[in-house]
Symmetry: C2
Subunit: 495 residues, 2 copies
């Protein structure tokens, strides 16, 4: 994989000087067009051997292009805010919006390679990280991002020579960190694992480009040309740069019965039983969130359900158990303009709780496969691939210690009708009912199918759905609290 | 100030039970109206004596109202991301958007009071903090925010009794932190300094409400009623809840000459001199940003100037000196929807560099007194008060170790015309010229007045403007770099 990048590629000065101004101007043009179109983001990953010109090349790109439209991110030490959240959070928070270019130094590949080279992780964990990277990049591409992955390469002899000459040059010696020197000792391992990573993560939608780093003219022109060609192709394309998902529609179940039909909707609690159980589960939740074990976890509860199923009331009973400083409720409505300029899951990542904290999502990322599917706000390709993206996303959370609990509050059509009518009659509830609610109600069968598919495809062992029979509000509230408590207790028990 | 909150206020159970449901419903209504109008944010500050029911009251408010529309923030330990930035950054990042309510526990008042009570700061510094709080709140109110400040009070004897009874109650003993116990020893100091703070920061636009904390029914109803009345009044008002600024217009200078007219626009550099000086200043900047002293500072450069004055080119020459991982360029365009839901300065606070980092603002908060003034995007009251707000803002930055450098790149009308025409003729520069640029050009005199007022009112010893004669691009670029370097060197020398 690296052999052809060790043969001493060079470009003579004359060729470079002839080509550079043309390339530069074309890159600038592409960059302004990128901004003007605002259709997709560009992500440039910079990896490879120390001393192979990573920093110099990025510096040069910033000189060639308009640096105001490029955001260069480094990911050295994690801040404590980053350490308290799932590992990918730090990358999500730095993603460039559509129309911009983000350069990622020290990205997910450097993290996994450093970990493996220094023996902090074994091959199996490396392969899991590789898989995670593939999923992330596939998703970013499907969301329209254009990804360039550059591996700057030097042979061992070339690297040693380069570090030596850098050391002698007083203007550049500061560029060599202790880490760089270390790499001259771990070169063989680094390149061996690098090869494994590149082999497995070079995909049509996000291929690696291996660039020999010895000759500055060669490496600069190579990187510049690759960027330019990729940009121009994507800018000229009518569709987003990534391929559309060619997805077959889901098949309706033959007997037209789903999981929701098998719920016993008559379940109910008498008032006194309810009050006793509610108080006891609330006290339990309050204790669990004060448990020392919770410092290693966070709690994330997703509330979805039919309109008027009682999400708000259930959330209030959960909140009532707790100190308001411990939880945050995130109501999900239409995305803002900044959120629309990012991949779909971005607006949920930004609200990720830190360890020891609890976030309630009142509606969630499942909007993609519910309202967006039914109302046609996204293409079938988009919502069909969302199931897999969501499963990947949730697995990341759970692996990082997030206790994830997902509720579907189900009521039947008659109950909904009665509640809608009640809301229209009681003055202070009138805010809770809109024309849209009545329109949604007409699409009951479509929503039922969407919910069935959602549960089938995203109720996993890692992150199961809890279907809550919510015709009786009391029964639903107690079930919600008890489920949260059981999930926390199980997580603490597993520690 | 606190005497009337130590007399044992009580409300009997019957009164409470009669009033609570009415109040609750009215608060909910007000809350939904707040959201629907989306005109202003509500900020609730919670301070006072430990054990006086701060936490319980906020918990109760969250039960009475819709917790999905309330965001409760605590400010205990600063995270490392917060420690690396000016102190107010942590509050700015948690401000509620318009239509929402934010409850601030452990806000700026607790910080200054803790500091004074424990002797970390003296009276003079306390008074500076008080002044800062007044400025911040005045500004928030002028931006439309509705601020409630509650001081929960107990006499010394009441507090001791309360902490004792809490300790005996196993369900509540977890609520008493070591800090609470400490306060029983520092009560006298705490109340003495609290009185000083309240006296000086109770203003018509953001008064303090002292609430006696002994009787839960009394304190809950009191807080609830105050909130309700304030909310209802603000929701009913036509204008934003705060008073409009009654500002006299600025007077034009009698001889129609300003600072800009006194610049020597003929200054220029020959190519060889330019190249030598540019290289030397770039090397100096690179050295200064790698200086250990820079770890205690950050660098913030503001670029303003006439259209086509060469801001972009100057910024690129600055960037070219540096490793792209060290700086970030923030181009300021029209605010996004999330930014419009916040006070004006919010969108600049969010890009505040951490220590050891460098942020370039390509256009800045000065848009308020330039384009927004000239184009009428904000009212005269808004831009007239902006001068003072900006001076306060910049003083905060500088006091926190930010090296702040502000450039106005000035060209004359003929030079601008020539550059506009050049841009129209050169293909890859065509992105840089729009119809709007030509329209702005017609308002040359208005912009000249605005720039003159801006420099007069915001060129302070703390944060002076550097006027850059930019008819000659070479001269301008070298002057920009040299000014940055001199500012850094001066800051390092002062340490």
């Amino acid at each position: 994989m690296f052999e052809s990048a060790e043969i001493g590629h060079r470009i003579d000065k004359k060729t470079f000087e002839a080509e550079e101004p043309v390339l530069r101007q074309a890159l600038l043009e592409a960059q302004y067009l990128l901004k003007q179109q605002g259709r997709f983001a560009v992500i440039v990953l910079i990896n490879g051997v120390e001393g192979a010109g990573k920093g110099e090349t990025v510096k040069l790109l910033n000189e060639w292009m308009d640096p105001r439209l490029i955001q260069v991110n480094t990911f050295d030490q994690q801040t404590d805010e980053e350490l308290a959240r799932p590992p990918a959070w730090r990358y999500w928070r730095q993603l460039p919006p559509k129309g911009r270019m983000g350069v990622f130094f020290g990205n997910w590949y450097s993290q996994m390679l450093q970990g493996r080279v220094h023996g902090h992780i074994k091959d199996a964990v490396l392969d899991q990280a590789i898989d995670g990277a593939k999923n992330l990049e596939r998703m970013l591409c499907d969301e329209g991002a254009l990804i360039f992955k550059f591996w700057f390469h030097l042979s061992k002899a070339q690297m040693k020579a380069r570090l030596k000459s850098l050391r002698k040059d007083p203007l550049h010696s500061w560029r060599i960190s202790p880490l760089d020197w270390q790499q001259s000792k771990t070169y063989d391992k680094f390149v061996r694992y690098g090869e494994r990573v590149l082999r497995r993560t070079s995909r049509d939608y996000a291929p690696w480009y291996v660039v020999e780093g010895v000759d500055p003219a060669y490496r600069s022109l190579t990187v510049g040309r690759i960027l330019l060609e990729g940009l121009q192709a994507a800018l000229a394309a009518q569709a987003p740069p990534s391929g559309q998902a060619h997805a077959a529609p889901l098949t309706a179940s033959l007997d037209n019965r789903g999981l929701l039909d098998s719920l016993d909707m008559r379940q109910a609690l008498a008032k006194d039983v309810y009050e006793a159980q509610l108080a006891s589960e609330q006290a339990r939740l309050s204790r669990l969130l004060r448990d020392k074990a919770f410092r290693r976890h966070s709690l994330l509860a997703v509330f979805e359900g039919n309109d008027a199923a009682g999400k708000g009331g259930a959330i209030r009973r959960v909140a009532a158990a707790l100190d308001p400083r411990q939880y945050r409720i995130v109501p999900i409505a239409a995305p803002t303009e900044e959120e629309r300029a990012q991949p779909y899951l971005w607006r949920f990542w930004r609200h990720m709780p830190a360890r020891g904290h609890f976030t309630v999502f009142d509606r969630s990322w499942y909007g993609r496969v519910l309202v967006e599917r039914v109302e046609g706000y996204c293409s079938p390709g988009d919502w069909l691939r969302a199931y897999g993206e969501i499963n990947d996303f949730e697995e990341q959370l759970v692996e990082a210690g997030v206790v994830l609990v997902k509720f579907w509050l189900a009521i039947d059509e008659q109950t909904q009708l009665a509640r809608f009518q009640e809301r229209e009659q009681i003055p202070f509830k009138r805010f809770k009912i809109t024309e849209e609610d009545w329109r949604n109600r007409e699409k009951w069968p479509e929503y039922r199918d969407a919910v069935g598919d959602m549960v089938d495809r995203t109720s996993t062992r890692v992150a199961p759905w809890t279907l809550v029979e919510a015709n009786d509000k009391r029964f639903a509230r107690v079930k919600v609290l008890r489920t949260l408590n059981d999930a926390l207790a199980a997580a603490f028990g597993d520690d």
